[in-house]
């Protein structure tokens, strides 16, 4: 055991992460990039808070957006309440108000949801999520109805240390600050008695009871703390977009955070960070490129669940182990060899999907139009040419992927057995 409070490797990793987060907007100055980075930072906090339940306590929630959304609404109302008399310092502290709101929501709603674990918890969380989402439409006074509640984050006459939070890049700085603090706090929590007992309750609730722990209490406390961090993320989103709609607390948002966390990897603390960044990029970048992005999103999720159920973090962890054992070099050529046919397969599939989508959903020209633009290319979709080409590429990619992928699998299994053989 190391008695050092912060081991050097960990300090380096955290410092590096923070430095990268600060450096990114200096490298990518475009408004689009800064907005993207802001959304990433918010989602990182949200996904990490979700994994306090899913990965750490074993609670599958379908209603986590409730805490996020309520945090966002309360923050927005507080911002509007402060109004002109406020100062940028108060605005900077507002995510904490969102956090407290999320926590309070956790105290009230969590009392009901955490009575039970497993499927019952999942179902009750779904029910509560729907309930709160329905309330959002029933009480337009508070939730702002269809239009939502908007506000202005630039208030007060003077700046705070030169910050007014008006420019997007200043808002990004505020998000990085809060995201970093929240991430450190959430990591610290995993290293406490409650954090460890949450793992114990996840693995074996019965035994946890027999070593003296009230599993219901452990789940309840974890949910309250998770609500706190989800609320902070909600507060940040309110300040960032200066508008909060009912969308923030509905089932779709709950679903997205589940996907992010799962794709990133629930078994590792940093998994949700990766998932949040990746899915945000996919949403915004791919969403900007094609109208069929939800389809890609779904296919990607399906692929991950089937091929890498431990998420991206588990893939990284395996590579790390191989590297430590000096075996990564043996696998790298195989990875590269598999990447090429996979790209061919992907190109073919994307072509088919885009053409199909253009034909059925009508990319800007109305459904059923056959002469249209697909990926910047003019195409006659009633002619067999483009279809045959895309189908051919996909078939070729599939054949190559199967052939080379098979050889990679053999190499992979051999390497894994060497790895485990070395260990035993």
């Amino acid at each position: 055991m190391n008695s050092v409070i912060f081991p050097r490797g960990r300090l380096l990793l955290w410092g590096g992460g923070l430095a990268l987060a600060i450096a990114l907007p200096l490298l990518f100055k475009s408004g689009f990039m800064v907005s993207l980075l802001c959304q990433m930072g918010i989602m990182v906090v949200f996904a990490l808070s979700y994994n306090m339940l899913l990965g750490q306590t074993g609670l599958l929630s379908f209603g986590h957006a409730v805490y996020y959304g309520l945090g966002a609404f309360i923050t927005m109302h507080t911002l509007n309440l402060i109004g002109k008399d406020g100062s940028p310092l108060l605005v900077a502290l507002l995510p904490l108000v969102g956090g407290l709101a999320g926590m309070l929501a956790g105290v009230v709603l969590g009392y009901v949801t955490t009575k039970k674990a497993g499927t019952t918890f999942a179902m009750i969380s779904l029910g509560i999520g729907e309930l709160v989402a329905a309330c959002a439409l029933m009480f337009p006074g508070f939730f702002g109805g269809e239009g939502g509640v908007s506000g202005n984050r630039v208030i007060g006459k003077e700046s705070f240390l030169g910050f007014t939070w008006g420019p997007q890049v200043e808002m990004y700085g505020l998000i990085v600050l809060w995201a970093f603090l929240a991430t450190v706090a959430m990591f610290a929590l995993t290293q406490t008695p409650l954090g460890r007992m949450a793992n114990a309750v996840r693995d074996n609730p019965e035994r946890a009871e027999f070593v003296g722990y009230d599993t219901q209490r452990v789940r309840y406390l974890m949910l309250i703390l998770s609500g706190l961090f989800a609320g902070i993320a909600g507060g940040l989103t309110a300040l960032n977009y200066e508008i909060v709609t009912a969308e923030t607390l509905n089932a779709h948002t709950s679903g997205v955070v589940l996907l992010m966390t799962f794709v990133g990897g629930i078994g590792f603390f940093y998994g949700p960070i990766i998932g949040a960044i990746l899915i945000t990029v996919m949403q915004i970048v791919i969403g900007g490129l094609t109208h069929a992005w939800l389809l890609y999103f779904g296919l990607f999720f399906l692929f991950m669940v089937l091929m890498a159920p431990g998420g991206i973090a588990s893939l990284i962890a395996v590579q790390h182990k191989l590297w430590q054992a000096g075996l990564l070099g043996r696998m790298l050529p195989h990875y590269l060899a598999t990447a090429l046919p996979t790209l061919v397969l992907l190109a073919g599939l994307v072509g088919l999907i885009e053409m199909g989508y253009a034909l059925l959903a009508g990319e800007g020209v109305g459904a059923g139009d056959t002469a249209t633009k697909v990926m910047g290319m003019e195409m006659q979709l009633n002619a067999p040419g483009p279809w045959a080409a895309a189908l051919g590429v996909a078939a070729l990619g599939l054949a190559l992927t199967r052939w080379i992928g098979g050889r990679t699998r053999v190499a992979w299994n051999a390497t894994l057995s060497t790895l485990h053989g070395d260990k035993a």
Binding site: M1, P193, R196
Partner: protein, 255 residues
């Protein structure tokens, strides 16, 4: 302090219409090693489940060190100093051996639901977990996830988790089930070592283990205790021999 460690009186348990425990009276004295034996389906494990509150009692009373514990939850009974193991290994599979044991000591050391203390800073929890790990002979498996330990190692960890909290009343449910002879011998020596000065109640099928460890033996047949006595007396008890149809117990004792 004169009250027995465990006093069970008129205990009944029904599952639907079938009566599994049909009026059990049993006193376990403080500091004794008590074995409960009986044919399969006699209700031995059910009796343990009732005492440890894993199952709700249908009727009757259970006192732990003079206090009524019927209706309490498992964690409340654990906090009153009763700890139990399970027939089917019941550990924290994804946590390391060390983490399993540390989880088992946290409550007894008063750390409760703390989220403001660093685990690695809790010296007493670490030392206690390490001491137990040493006692059960798993020190070299410290960082191995419990789920990939060998069967005998998992059984040892099962007992380790049970004794880690320092509870003074220990219930072991078939601690040597499924072990080889050598493993059983080691397990018996280990159980003897770690339950020194404590009250031990165990369910066991291996008569060698029972007669080697127990100060007193109770025989449970069809939900009732037909005899409670010292091992020598149990050996000669006619009712007990009849219950075992003169076979398994007899041959077990003879060997």
């Amino acid at each position: 302090m004169n009250s027995p460690a465990i006093r069970v009186s008129g205990l009944k348990k029904n599952f639907g219409a079938s009566e599994i425990i049909r009026g059990v009276d049993l006193d376990i004295q403080r500091g004794e090693r008590h074995a409960i034996i009986g044919p399969n389906g006699a209700g031995k494990s059910t009796l343990f489940h009732l005492i440890s509150a894993r199952l709700p009692v249908t009727a009757g009373a259970i006192e732990l060190k003079g206090e009524n514990v019927v209706g309490l939850k498992p964690f409340e009974i654990a906090r009153r100093g009763l700890s139990r193991s399970f027939q089917i290994t019941n550990i924290f599979h994804n946590l390391s051996v060390f983490e399993n044991l540390r989880c088992a000591v946290l409550w007894s050391l008063g750390y409760r639901y703390s989220f403001w203390q660093r685990l690695s800073g809790l010296k007493d929890a670490r030392q206690r977990a390490e001491a137990v790990m040493e006692e059960i002979g798993l020190s070299r498996r410290r960082d191995t996830p419990a789920g990939i330990l060998s069967y005998a190692e998992q059984r040892a960890l099962e007992i380790g988790i049970t004794i880690a909290s320092g509870a003074d009343v220990i219930l072991l449910d078939e601690p040597t089930a499924g072990m080889s002879n050598t493993e059983t011998e080691e397990a018996v020596a280990m159980i003897r070592r770690v339950t020194e000065g404590k009250t031990l109640v165990m369910v066991e099928h291996d008569m060698g283990v029972v007669f080697g460890l127990a100060d007193r033996i109770s025989v449970l047949v069809y939900g009732q205790i037909i005899a409670t006595d010292a091992p020598a007396a149990i050996r000669c008890n006619a009712a007990v021999q009849e219950a075992y149809l003169g076979t398994s117990l007899h041959s077990g004792i003879a060997s």
